[in-house]
Symmetry: C2
C-alpha cells in the first residue's frame, strides 16, 4: 500500500460522520485549513506514545488509538478548552492491515466521543511504533484555566478515583502483558479514561488553577505548586482510591488522566452541584497554602513523601 | 536531567528573541494558548523525520534541527500561508547534551529565519531518534493556495533549481555518510533549503494551484494532477537542473523543498517580476492539459516516464 492508500482506507473519517463546517480542508493537501471565530483563542498541545515506554507490544491496537486521543483530550480539559482538531504522526515499522484497522477504529471511536476531526498529519517508516498526536482546541478569550494560578486557601480537588490505571499497569507486569488478565474496569481506566469536557469547561467560573494527572498525583501536583509559587497539604484519608487499589498507586502511579484543580472554599457546594449535573465525581483532597512545600498528612500527623513521587521520562 | 530541565535549557526561546504578542501562553502548561484574529484561517501541518529513514546517524544535529523546521515551513509556503507556531515531539534514545545544544540551536536558527515560535510539545524516550514537528500558520480567509485547482492551459513552474539535495544524499551514500565530503552547496540544499515565504504569499493573486516538492518532481506533480483531475506535459530541456546534477535527480530525487505551482500563461511576466522582486528564481517547465496523463517531452518527442518516479515511504 502507498501512504495515500493507507490514509484513504484507515484514516479518512468514516463517512465524514463528524462534519465540522470550520474544517475547510482536511487530509490531503500540504496542510489543513480551519476557519476560526472572533473572540476565540487557540489551545495547542501534543502528547505521544512510544512502544515499550508508554505501552507494551501486546496492547490491543483499538485501545492504543482510543487512549492516544484521550490523553490529548485530557490536556484540553485541563485548560477548560473545547478540543477540536487533530493531526497524527504515525511511525510504523510495518504495514499490518489488521493493526491499522483496529488502531484507526479506536482512534475514530474516541474522536466521535469527543467530537474531534482528524485534519492531517504524517506517516513514517520506523523501527519502533511511535504514535504522535497533536490537538488544537479553542477557548473563549480569557477563559483558559492555567496551572499557575492556585492561591493559598484554595481547596484541592481531583476528579474520579485514582490508581486503577496504575494497578492495570502493575497487573500487566505480573501477568506477562496478558491483557485478558485485566478486569474490565482496569482496561477501561488504562485505555479509555473518561474526560469530562463539559465539566471542565464550566470550571473557569469557579476555579483558580487546573492541570491533568498523567504522571502521578504527587509529581503533577508538585508541578502545579511550582508554577503557582505555593505549597499544599494533602490529606491521605481523603484520597479517592479506586476499589482494591493501594494508596501508593493513587499517589505516584500515574496514567489517571483525571483533573486536578484548585478553588476557593466558598464555591465548594457550587462545584459539587456542577459535578453532579455533569455526571462527574469530585473529591477535595487537601488545600493550597503559602510557601513551597508539599506535605502529606494522615489523621492529623505529617508523613514523609514517598521516595518515588511519580514518572519523569528523563530523570 | 528531568524533562523540565531539558526544556528549560534547550527549548525555551533564546531571550524570547521572537516575542509574539499572539502567544498568550507558551511552553509549560497543559497546552499553549494563542490569540487569533478575525478573518484569518488556520493552516495546520506536520512533517516528521526518523533516523535511518530520513537522515543518517552521522547528520550534524544543528542541520537536523534546521531542516526539521524548513520542511514544515515549506508546507506553509505551499499553501501561501504565514507560518507562525510550532510544537515539537522529540523522541530521544538518550540525553546527549551536546546533541541537544546543537539540535536546538539549528531549530531556533531556522525559527528565527522564518519568524516562528515554539509553543509546546512532548518529550519521549525511545529506541530510535524520531523528530516530530507540527506547524500552525494563518492565511487570510479565502486566500489559501490548494493543489486541487490546476486548470488545463496553466503553465507549470518550479522555484529554484532541482536535484542538488538528492545529489547530496547520493554523495553521502557513496562516502559512508561522511558529511565533510559534501560541498557547501550540497549541504545547504539538503539541510537549509530556502523557503520563499513572501513570494509564496503573493501567489494566490496570480496562480491556480501549488504544492511543495519533497518526494521528487514526478511523484509530487502526479499528486497535484490527481487532486486537480488534469494531466500535464513536462519539457525535459526546461528543467532547472542544479550544477553537476543528473536529470534523474531532478525528476525523481526528492528532498528539494521547492515550490511547484501552476498559473495561467497570461500572468507569466507578472510572475517573473514578482519572483525577481522577492529574490526567487522560477522556471516554467511545462503545462497542464486535460485528461489525466503525465507526459515527458524532450525536444518535441514523447519519452517514457522513469520506472522509479519518486519516494513513497510505504509503497
Amino acid at each position: 500500500m502507498t501512504e495515500a492508500e493507507i490514509i484513504q482506507r484507515f484514516f479518512k473519517a468514516p463517512a465524514q460522520a463528524l462534519a465540522d463546517p470550520d474544517v475547510l480542508l482536511g487530509i490531503g493537501d500540504d496542510a489543513a485549513l480551519i476557519q476560526i471565530e472572533d473572540g476565540q483563542q487557540l489551545v495547542v498541545s501534543s502528547d505521544s506514545m512510544v512502544i515499550d515506554r508508554h505501552f507494551v507490544a501486546q496492547t490491543p491496537a483499538y485501545d492504543l488509538g482510543y487512549k492516544l486521543v484521550s490523553v490529548n483530550v485530557s490536556d484540553m480539559a485541563a485548560m477548560a478548552a473545547t478540543p477540536r482538531w487533530l493531526t497524527l504522526n504515525l511511525s510504523l515499522n510495518d504495514v499490518d492491515e489488521v493493526w491499522l484497522k483496529d488502531f484507526s477504529a479506536g482512534l475514530f471511536a474516541a474522536m466521535a466521543r469527543y467530537h474531534l476531526i482528524l485534519v492531517g498529519g504524517d506517516m513514517l517508516r520506523s523501527t519502533e511504533l511511535n504514535l504522535g498526536l497533536q490537538i488544537i482546541g479553542t477557548v473563549s478569550a480569557g477563559k483558559a484555566l492555567l496551572r499557575s494560578n492556585a492561591k493559598p486557601g484554595d481547596d484541592i480537588y481531583v476528579s474520579g478515583s485514582l490508581g486503577l490505571a496504575a494497578s492495570a499497569v502493575a497487573t500487566l507486569k505480573q501477568e506477562r502483558n496478558e491483557h485478558a488478565k485485566l478486569t474490565a474496569a482496569q482496561a477501561a481506566a488504562l485505555y479509555r479514561p473518561p474526560i469530562h469536557i463539559a465539566f471542565a469547561q464550566a470550571l473557569p467560573e469557579l476555579c483558580h488553577a487546573a492541570m491533568d494527572l498523567s504522571d502521578g498525583l504527587l509529581l503533577d501536583l508538585q508541578r502545579l505548586l511550582t508554577a503557582s509559587g505555593v505549597g499544599a497539604v494533602i490529606h491521605c484519608e481523603k484520597l479517592p482510591l479506586a476499589e482494591s487499589v493501594d494508596e501508593s498507586m493513587a499517589l505516584s502511579g500515574g496514567e489517571d488522566y483525571a483533573l486536578l484543580f484548585t478553588a476557593p472554599a466558598a464555591v465548594a457546594s457550587k462545584l459539587q452541584a456542577l459535578a453532579t449535573a455533569e455526571g462527574c465525581v469530585i473529591n477535595c483532597i487537601g488545600s493550597i497554602c503559602a510557601g513551597d512545600e508539599l506535605r502529606l498528612v494522615r489523621n492529623g500527623q505529617s508523613e514523609a513523601l514517598p521516595s518515588h513521587a511519580g514518572f519523569d521520562h528523563f530523570s
